[in-house]
Symmetry: C2
Subunit: 332 residues, 2 copies
């Protein structure tokens, strides 16, 4: 098979993050589910924003964050996602393209504006996400760019997409094209509540189509409906080629067949905002894994990328990741 | 005279900052004036943005940053500035109002979009600012809210406003109203290039109308066309009630008549981005000064507020300033 033009192409919700600090009382007053991603409608978004403090805007979206991290590391990547042709849409497209990502999805000309995620960061650095999907709900099968998908080594999918039937159709089409052209499928479980909403479909997808799986402890135990993390680890071994399972400050467990690697979390700087930790872990790990690094090294690359993104506000890397890899790992 | 409703009302350009890291080669390639604020037009803005890396968006504008800092400290403040009725304008208004600032200037319904400042942060944490004024150019005398201005202890002006004749007229009207109602006038010299453009007018304003002056070393020596900082210090004593003159990592010199206070810079965290350092210094100092603190204490409050804002991307405080004052100074 000829060499592919892209290493990873992702499909995901295209969302601008609106981040601010908030105290626990704010979370309780608005009855938010702390640590989770909750979908909100226009009225809820307006009410929440009106009560939020001064914020900063940073391009986000789970799979897009992973792609931005991969691109920062030097991987050739593409992204499929829907923004509107408005100011925030222009910002979103800029942030991907200027990072070197191929982003060709047509912008919506009408309908709701570019999607936003209102993120409250509590003093414990935990983030509580409230997503107004906006133009992202328009993403459908017609947006699946066969040119990108037939030319990538990996197709990366985020679990959040399952919340929209139209998007689900798009990613089924995308994975058919990608797999027919020899691509592997990587999948992130996104959020434990999202797993609970789509458990049966996720299980089927993982057993039949997923090669590389990313999940945190809450997500993987929710998927298999088990209490012990170790039980989930045993189960997932049979279902995918490799699974990288993160446990926040307790590091990660990576399994490939009967092989197991345990990798500690990295300490680079104080934790300011955990938004994007999992997304950037996936970026670092995938980069190492696709370049043939050992599970341990790929795991450390994930941990270093995650440590960078939690040291500041926002889920996109602020510092060039290759420099960090060089400094902390001696490889780039 | 009855007690005023506001402590400080400011007039300034209403600008959303678009910040990204860049290397020295980028600054040279685009022939930017490092460390300065340069006005750019639509075509220049588009060309620059197209070549910039992934960025973050944070509400900015020099005087507005000072007001945001004052509001964070608990002062009752107002702001007069012009955005357009677009997505970035909504973000801008949110960030001021949610911080407790009275912001009633009518949004522009047509014409250029909300202003943006494209800020390149080099590895030395220095910022190079390129401002597309956008809707800010529409600010004029009709936007001067007499209700705000007759009700404030201090009117705060930024030097940048002199770059627009229309704005100059607005602030003349504003200072007439404010002074007729017993308010003091505070003035920030903004930028040494701005000082060079408007030296004669700034000198006249300072000698005739300004009570509280903020400048850094480059600005105050440019104003008086002297080589030595000490010469400028001697000259400014006769012209204003109090002048707070900052010297980056060398701290600040504050003079009031023959009284002099030298205050060291604060070290709170590593310096990430110096955008807003002067603006937040002014916020901290003014807060202390208006509450009757000594020059030394007011100077330290300025230094602490500046130290917070240079510890992260963006020119608005991310952490509540009263907590920092309490921790580092024992006062709030």
């Amino acid at each position: 098979m000829p060499e592919k033009q892209f290493e990873v192409v992702a499909i995901g919700n295209a969302i601008v993050d609106v981040l601010c600090h908030a105290d626990e009382a704010f979370i309780q007053r608005h009855k938010l589910t702390k640590g989770a991603m909750t979908l909100i409608d226009t009225a809820q978004a307006e009410a929440l924003y009106a009560d939020m403090g001064p914020a900063v805007e940073v391009s986000g979206g789970s799979a897009a964050n992973t792609i931005a991290g991969l691109a920062s590391l030097g991987a050739k990547c593409g992204f499929i996602g829907k923004v509107k042709d408005d100011q925030l849409g222009a910002v979103y497209a800029h942030d991907l393209k200027s990072g070197g990502v191929a982003f060709t999805t047509a912008m919506a000309k009408s309908g709701p504006g570019t999607g936003r995620c209102y993120i409250l960061v509590t003093p414990d650095a935990q983030r509580t996400m409230n997503t107004y999907l906006g133009a992202s709900i328009e993403l459908g099968p017609n947006d699946v760019d066969a040119k990108l998908l037939s030319n990538t080594r990996v197709l990366y999918l985020e679990g959040y997409l399952w919340d929209r039937p139209n998007a689900k159709e798009a990613l089924r089409k995308a994975s058919d094209i990608a797999r027919a052209n020899g691509a592997k499928v990587a999948f992130s479980l996104s959020d434990s509540f999202c797993v609970s909403r789509w458990r049966a479909e996720f299980r089927e997808l993982i057993e039949q189509r997923v090669d590389i799986l990313f999940a945190n402890e809450a997500e993987i135990t929710a998927l298999y409906e088990v209490k012990q993390f170790e039980e989930a680890v045993t189960m997932v071994r049979a279902h995918v080629e490799v699974a990288a399972l993160t446990r926040s400050e307790n590091g990660a467990v990576i399994v490939r067949g009967q092989e197991t690697a345990k990798v500690a979390a990295e300490r680079i700087a104080p934790v300011v905002d955990t938004t994007g930790a999992g997304d950037l872990y996936a970026a670092g790990f995938l980069f190492g894994y696709l370049r043939g690094r050992s599970l341990e090294t790929a795991g450390r690359m994930g941990a270093i990328a995650a440590a960078e993104v939690i040291s500041h506000f926002g889920a996109r890397p602020e510092r060039p990741l290759p420099e960090l890899m060089q400094r902390h790992l001696g490889v780039a």
